[in-house]
């Protein structure tokens, strides 16, 4: 049953997933993408973009509104820049719901969905949420779930309006981090781990340049992505190496760009998927990590064990192994941690400490090692959903100029960070 974290597959020894191949992704929709919401255009607000994405996903699947009986979303929209107090708008934009998040009830009302029996507006961020959705359909809580993930970016410099960052007091757990300048989020601890990685394996920050350039290249082949829409030019190695330093050695080009957008997906049973418009993309397993390190900062060793465990869980539940994964789209919100997934899952045989050498090989979509064929969040803006939507497109064979030339029958995608994440194994075949 889906409840709190009880639904998670976050332990080794759980065996083959009981719904392996019995749940399928049959629809996907991506809304327009803006750098920020201007605070005026309601069709470009969180709610407006969510409606757009949901309607596209339903149409993509060839379904009607009456077919939807499950609604799943997350409040983790990263709308850190709170505006309160502020004037609201006329209904339905008269509360935060629709502006900084979009609940299941809001979407049910706005789209006029009549047959919904399962509501969940409190799912975690998209990585585990996709697993939750697959589990909900497999468990029979609903037959056809509409699942959406908005990312919200409001006015002002990102994070500078976050109340915690402007407070002269450090309450709770932040008392042991904030007084030394530690910022919440994935940047700091993962940069610490990256520095440990470079120290251990004799690597340096410039080893990330080929990954960054290739992600931008892939992103420019993603027509709805931020860079394809607004900054349609390729980066150079010199651009990367001379990028504005945020926290040395991290530069601006290591960071995904916060954007305002929404993506939606349709999960249904394999049985129902047979007659729908799209070729089903079957779910073979989902797995999660939600551990913490022993002390203030998690260490390289702890992160490596976390991803190794995640991989073992994924192999155990899906029945697949490292050589079986064709498409691999792990999170790249900061480029400093992506290598942990590459090495932990040993994709294309990459072992601990070898990621930078792998990046320097041919990782183009036309080449033999099309890593992050999506362009990731670094190449399309921080929407996170692209990791899953590219996987679907690659398996359908509809990725256009990004379509890989190697085999594309299975895909592994997920986010966020090594110690806190959810991944989904997908396949063209149910077994």
């Amino acid at each position: 049953m889906v409840s709190n974290t009880g639904w998670m597959r976050n332990r080794e020894g759980m065996g083959v997933w009981e719904h392996r191949g019995k749940v399928a992704l049959v629809g996907w929709g991506q809304s327009h993408m803006d750098r920020r919401w201007d605070g005026v255009a309601l069709d470009r607000s969180c709610g407006g973009l969510t409606k757009e994405a949901c309607l596209k996903a339903i149409a993509d699947a060839g379904l009607s509104l009456d077919d939807i009986d499950g609604l799943i979303t997350s409040p983790e929209t990263r709308a850190e820049q709170t505006w309160a107090p502020r004037p609201y708008f006329d209904p339905p934009y008269d509360t935060e719901d629709g502006l900084t998040k979009t609940s299941a009830e809001w979407i049910q009302r706005e789209l006029g969905l009549k047959n919904v029996k399962y509501f969940n507006s409190d799912a975690p961020y998209i990585g585990p949420m996709m697993g939750l959705a697959a589990q909900a359909v497999g468990d029979g809580l609903c037959e056809t779930a509409l699942v959406w993930y908005p990312m919200v970016n409001l006015e002002g410099r990102y994070g500078h309006n976050n109340p915690q960052n402007n407070n002269q007091e450090a309450p709770g757990a932040s008392a042991f981090t904030l007084p030394w300048g530690y910022q919440n989020g994935a940047m700091f601890n993962n940069l610490v781990v990256f520095q440990q990685y470079c120290q251990k394996y004799g690597k340096s920050h410039d080893g990330l340049a080929p990954l960054c350039l290739n992600l931008r290249r892939n992103g420019l082949m993603t027509p709805w992505g931020y860079y394809a829409l607004y900054e349609p030019y390729q980066l150079t190695r010199e651009d990367y190496l001379n990028g504005r330093v945020i926290e040395e050695p991290l530069v601006i080009y290591d960071c995904d760009r916060p954007v305002n957008t929404c993506a939606a997906f349709i999960f249904t049973t394999a049985e129902r998927a047979k007659d729908l418009r799209q070729k089903p993309v079957y779910v073979l397993n989902h797995a999660q990590n939600n551990g913490t390190g022993r002390s203030t900062m998690a260490t390289l060793e702890e992160h490596q064990e976390a991803v190794a465990s995640l991989a073992r869980k994924m192999w155990e539940g899906s029945g697949l192994g490292p050589d079986d994964v064709d498409i691999f789209n792990p999170y790249d919100g900061y480029l400093t941690f992506t290598q942990q997934f590459l090495e932990g899952f040993q994709w294309h045989g990459v072992k601990w400490g070898e990621a930078h050498d792998f990046y320097a090989e041919d990782i183009r979509v036309e080449g033999p090692h099309p890593f992050l064929s999506s362009g990731g969040n670094n190449g399309t803006g921080r929407n996170r959903a692209v990791l899953f939507s590219d996987s679907i497109e690659q398996l359908r064979g509809t990725a256009g100029p990004r379509q890989v030339t190697v085999r594309a029958e299975t895909a592994l995608a997920g986010c966020n960070t090594p110690d806190s994440c959810g991944f989904l194994m997908m396949s063209k075949h149910p077994s």
Binding site: R157, Y158, G159, H160, N162, N165, N166, N167, Q168, E169, A170, P171, G172, A173, S174, A175, F176, T177, L178, P179, W180, G181, Y182, Q183, F188, L191, V192, Q195, Q196, Q199, R244, V245, I246, E247, E248, P249, L250, R294, S295, T296, M297, T299
Partner: protein, 142 residues
Amino acid sequence: MSTIPGLERPAPVPNELTQPFWDACNERRLVLQNCTSCERLHYPPTQRCNRCGSGDNLQWQEVEGKGHIDVYMVIRDSRIRGFRSAQPINFAVITLDEDPGINFLSNLPGTPPGEVPVGAPVELIFEETSNGQLVHEWQVVA
């Protein structure tokens, strides 16, 4: 105030769990929880031992306050208001000699930004925060 020019550290807010820790800091002592069953130190403070899971055997214990610099980075574009006037500023991870599995954060007062001797020994000092509460800091051993 901090000895680092421009730095206004946010002040820790003690709670029931952490009050003994912060009280000890104000006495210029560093105390950590030790699980007397596992003989395992814990930091930050926790309700339960992260090995045996019990909260019954956690006792505060003063540690010597010697460590080494593990890794560092340099904060150049902080989102935290109290740090913006102090940039660039070091951000280092310190391992405790008595148990290298325990680590602390440090801005390494006295070490110029970016000139951090990784692996060097450090010793415990204390610095004032915005409301006068002392916090533990680390300084490269001269």
